[in-house]
């Protein structure tokens, strides 16, 4: 089957998993469905496929994530929609005139779909604001965030230059004859000085989260093939890695950025591992401040004891093992695709570096976190 994580599904392409499956030539007989757990969608597709295979329901699953945030629609307000409906339903000339007369210019004002999508309706904070919250309670400074962002950009630039994405990144070609063969959000000339000039994006004038130290709003897609042992034998496949386990956690939406800490720790506990025993980490860079807050949480004895129910601080995560080839700050965070991409890249980076055990994890808008424990083979 085909499972696709996708958040910004547009009306023209309902159930994009099925549309992709048909357009990929999988045939009419291939079931396909789309999953959505906000930022976790691209990882959820892998997890669902993993559980189906474990369960014996499927042998070969194509699991992916895709989002085209640039195609987010502008939406009419509820009032405007009701006006249209009234006009369409008007049967007599009188009713039609009445409907027309109730039109107000304010009905023309569009709602920016993307803006609403990135705002949590339960706590009425947008994603960037939640990053401000966690930055505050873990004492992450503006400078810390900018510094992290610069390092992320430079790691990405070097990875691109050194060809670390060969075999992972497929060039895309549009019908105008244009090639897209690298992620163009990279800023190789990033510096703390240049980032310091940017104004806060979400909470002015004193916020710490800026466009420069946040993930970029982009388009992207990723696919992985999951196979059972039987399928590996049957099709003569060469597995790259094994999914050992996954975990989803949930917490207060206003501090959603800490999601990765909860779910990753649950995995570590379940398998009797410590932070250090994980060879490589991919922790989605929704915001530099948010990543740093996660790292601070693991180093915080009170948090670890009271929230994670550990004996003491989990430890200081080795930054040299984290997002070694850059992350969403330079690559972008096409919401539904990221979860899938970080699993894929984790595997490729482990293979390249000859490492064995890795965790891919991400925070999820709405107050959740997802993590996968992967072993390279």
């Amino acid at each position: 089957m085909v499972i696709l994580g996708c958040v910004s599904v547009i009306a023209d392409e309902m159930n994009p998993a099925r549309i992709a499956a048909l357009r990929l030539g999988m045939g009419e007989a291939m079931p396909a469905f789309t999953v959505q757990i906000n930022c976790g969608s691209g990882m959820q597709s892998i997890d669902t496929g993993f559980r189906y295979i474990q369960e014996g329901i499927a042998d070969l699953v194509l699991a992916g994530g895709a989002d085209s945030l640039s195609h987010s629609p502008l939406v009419y307000s509820r009032r405007a929609v009701e006006w249209f409906a009234a006009l369409a339903g008007a049967r007599s000339l009188g009713a039609r005139l009445k409907a027309i007369a109730s039109w107000r210019p304010s009905m023309l004002k569009p709602i920016i779909g993307l803006e609403r999508g990135l705002t949590d309706p339960i706590v009425e904070l947008n994603m960037g604001q939640t990053a401000e919250v966690v930055a505050h309670v873990f004492n992450i400074s503006r400078r810390d965030a900018d510094q992290f962002a610069v390092e992320s950009q430079l790691k990405l630039a070097r990875a691109q230059k050194d060809g670390h994405f060969a075999g992972e990144l497929e060039p895309a070609f549009d019908r105008n004859g244009k090639t897209y063969d690298f992620d163009d959000g990279v800023r190789p000339d990033s510096s703390v000085e240049s980032l310091a000039k940017l104004k806060p994006a979400f909470e002015r004038p004193w916020g710490k989260v800026t466009p420069g130290n946040s993930s970029q709003i982009t388009d992207g897609a990723s696919w992985v093939i999951l196979a059972s042992e039987a399928a590996v034998q049957k099709y003569g496949l060469t597995p790259r890695a094994v999914i050992v386990d996954s975990h989803w956690s949930a917490l207060d939406p206003s501090i959603m950025g800490l999601g990765p800490v909860l779910c990753s720790t649950a995995l570590l506990k379940r398998h009797g591992l410590t932070l250090d025993e994980i060879d490589l980490w991919e922790l989605n860079e929704a915001f530099a401040a948010q990543v740093l807050a996660c790292l601070a949480a693991w180093a915080d004895p009170v948090f670890c004891r009271d929230v994670l129910h550990l004996d003491g601080a989990a430890g200081v995560l080795d930054r040299g093992k984290l997002n070694v080839d850059g992350g969403a700050i330079g690559l972008g965070h096409p919401v539904g695709a990221s979860g899938n991409r970080i699993v894929l890249h984790l595997i490729n980076a482990m293979k390249r570096l000859g490492l064995k055990r890795g965790i891919a994890t991400e925070c999820i808008g709405g107050g959740q976190g997802g993590a996968m424990l992967i072993e390279a083979v």
Partner: protein, 701 residues
């Protein structure tokens, strides 16, 4: 497989009324090609299902039977008559061309036509309402039959037209009269003069059909038509206007100029005959019908029509070479250059999943861009463009070679490069896959050296532009397996190309025949003849473009390369490649692609002087006869099997004057002895290169 779901249901989709397996009473008569049944609403359904043929065409036998059927219909007292085809692919494809072949006696033809007209008139004059239900192709005589009905209902996929002009004819079964009576006469004339088809939606807009619907609503549409509920769009004003002679005279003048610009009336008389017919008789249906018959008869016995009918048969003959079965679904093309990219695009258009590989990403990107442009031009629906582009898969790492049924190699013409490519892919290819090379100049036995499975190598030599040039030379070599060659031909059939089997030899057939033509043009140019004059000599003969323009189009560098290869590989004497040509190539003046060659090129068109000397017959012969000579040589050397293949290949790959029926046919019509004499004379006056090949003497009379 879910594919089975629609496969099982599809046969029910064609609405055949009482002829459905479980429907209606029995037959109302027994005929070979027709079936007649009455449905529960009292409507007669007349089904045309030509025996022994996958397509419906009108033959004398068919029309004679129809006459008998109509007798039954007249007596049946039914509410209405539906005329429909039982063939899944379409309604009626036209008249049986075979019956027009070798027509010599115009009076004979007139007699046959008059009898045919009587049958069609009888259909027209039936009292009860008659409805033609049209799906798929409805061409020529088929459209004429449909026009004789009171109503026409088309399904979405219907395609209507008058292609007679492409055979050097015009409609001869009343189509000229009935079409101008039904739709805007200018539009009708345009259809008949160009042979272009109108799809369902356009046909409805013209008023050619009265409703467009889907199979699932045919029954309802038929009932509405019979009950007189179809609101047909009629161009009554324009139809009435052009009943006036002066109105027609005004328009006819412009039509003549336009037609003459496309095809000289001396070579292609049908358009002017049609315009004359309309101008003279457009206001009097009966007179026009009589004149149509005699005009048609005159045309069909003429050499142009007979030669174009011959060309039609040549096409069918080449098509039949592609008749085998080959189930391959995936094609892998290596080399995304001008040819490789376009071959890949065409195969994807025709339904294959194509992986296109190249060492760099940019050629892949431009190939996709060119493909999108092509699809936008030729597709009727947006989703067809999308689906074709989905099937064209840029393959940076060449992964597709592993699962391909056919690999087409289209890398630059360097032996070592090709060998290197083969060495890299052969171990990864499937053992049952075909390896085809698009080489135009490297002998296949050289390419087959070093292959583990040389028997699976064949040549598929495409011509530029791939989407328009139907001919593909299928090149064999001593080690090639016959079943692989047959599979290659079958593949070409599936992508709607015409295979011309040719043995591997320098230049194969087409390039070898064109080279002396192009080089002689250079000799004439050197002698001081203006390029416009040289080109006019060839175009006057009937070539689509002259040799100078063609050389610039192809690229002077490529022409030179081909000429050098042929000079080296063949014994035959050829004109030397002039130094000034080499200099031009060195300077980078390569022709159209660089904006300057022998002509200056602007916006993809050559800048030609308007006042030029008229070419002499001698000039024309100097250009054309060497082409014929090479054809004869290829026949003698056994490179091509027979004269028909030569004629078909030359016409469909170079556009060699179709109205002359092909180079070999022209040679025979003109007189072999005369041509040889001329060649001998030329060899004395202009050079050894003209001396006629030994093969001329060996031609069977």
């Amino acid at each position: 497989m879910a594919q089975q779901v629609w496969k099982t249901l599809e046969p029910r989709n064609l609405e055949l009324g009482p002829h459905a397996p479980d429907g209606g009473e029995g037959e109302l008569g027994s005929w070979k090609h027709w079936k007649l049944r009455r449905d529960e609403d009292g409507i007669l359904w007349l089904l045309f299902d030509k025996a022994g043929s996958s397509a419906n065409t009108l033959s004398q036998e068919v029309l004679t039977e129809l006459d008998d059927v109509l007798s039954k219909v007249e007596q049946a007292g039914a509410k209405g008559l539906v005329l429909r085809s039982a063939k899944p692919a379409g309604f009626i494809a036209g008249a049986d061309i075979g019956e027009l072949r070798d027509a010599k006696n115009a009076t004979d033809i007139e007699g046959r036509l008059a009898r045919a007209h009587a049958v069609v008139d009888r259909l027209d004059q039936l009292r009860l309402p008659t409805v033609a239900v049209i799906h798929g192709y409805c061409l020529g005589g088929g459209l004429e039959i449909a026009l004789a009905c009171d109503y026409r209902i088309a399904t979405d996929d219907a395609s209507l037209g008058f292609p007679e002009v492409l055979l050097g004819l015009h409609p001869g079964l009343g189509g000229t009269v009935r079409s101008i009576r039904l739709v805007n006469p200018i539009e009708a004339m345009s259809m008949m003069l160009t042979g272009r088809t109108a799809r369902a939606r356009r046909a409805k807009a013209l008023g050619l059909v009265d409703a467009v619907t889907q199979e699932r609503h045919v029954r309802g549409a038929v009932k509405a038509a019979v009950a007189g509920e179809l609101k047909a769009r009629r161009s009554n004003l324009l139809v009435s206007l052009f009943r006036f002679g002066p109105a027609r005279a005004l328009v006819a003048k412009r039509m003549r100029t336009q037609a003459a610009a496309k095809a000289p009336p001396a070579q292609y008389p049908a358009p002017s005959a049609l315009i004359d017919l309309w101008e003279k008789h457009g206001g009097d249906a009966k007179a026009m019908q009589r004149a149509e018959v005699s005009s048609f008869a005159q045309l069909v016995v003429g050499s142009t029509a007979q030669n174009l009918i011959r060309v039609f048969n040549l096409r069918e003959k080449l098509k039949s070479l592609a008749d085998g079965k080959w189930d391959g679904k995936r094609v892998h093309v290596i080399g995304a250059g001008a040819m490789g990219g376009d071959i890949a695009a065409w195969c994807a258009w025709r339904g294959f999943t194509v992986t296109l590989a190249d060492m760099k990403a940019e050629p892949l990107a431009s190939a996709v861009g060119r493909a999108a442009k092509l699809y936008d031009k030729i597709a009727h629906r947006r989703i067809d463009v999308r689906d074709a582009l989905d099937r064209l898969i840029p393959d940076v790492r060449g992964e597709g070679v592993r699962s391909a049924d056919l690999v087409i190699e289209a890398v630059p013409e360097v032996l070592d490069l090709k060998r290197k490519v083969y060495a890299g892919i052969e171990p990864r290819m499937r053992a049952d896959a075909i390896l085809a090379t698009n080489t135009s100049s490297i002998p296949l036995d050289q390419l087959s050296e070093g292959l583990r499975r040389p028997q699976r190598l064949i040549g598929l030599h495409f011509f530029n532009p791939v989407s328009r040039m139907q001919l593909v030379e299928v090149i064999s070599h001593p080690k090639a397996a016959p079943e692989v060659l047959a599979a290659g031909r079958a593949f070409l059939g599936r992508i709607d190309r015409l295979p011309a089997p040719v043995k591997s030899a320098p230049g194969f057939l087409v390039n070898r025949a064109l080279t002396p033509y192009l080089l002689e043009a250079m000799v004439l140019f050197n002698e001081g003849v203006k390029p416009e004059t040289i080109d006019a000599a060839a175009v006057g003969f009937g070539m689509p473009v002259g040799p100078i323009e063609l050389a610039d189009e192809v690229g002077l560098d490529i022409c030179m390369h081909v000429a050098e290869t042929l000079k080296a590989g063949l014994e035959r004497k050829m004109p030397d490649i002039p130094n000034w040509l080499r200099e031009k190539v060195e300077k980078g003046e390569l022709g159209r692609k660089t904006g300057k060659g022998l002509y200056e090129w602007k916006d993809g068109k050559p800048v030609k002087a308007t006042e030029v000397a008229t070419p002499t017959g001698e000039m024309t012969n100097r250009l054309i006869l060497p082409m014929l000579d090479v054809c004869v040589a290829c026949l003698r050397e056994g490179i091509v099997a027979d004269e028909d293949t030569i004629d078909g290949a030359m016409i469909f790959a170079t556009g060699f004057a179709p109205f002359r029926g092909g180079p070999m046919h022209y040679a025979r019509q003109h007189g072999v002895a005369d041509i040889c004499a001329t060649l001998v004379r030329f060899s004395q006056r202009y050079g050894e290169r003209f001396f006629p090949d030994a093969g001329w003497n060996k031609l069977t009379p």
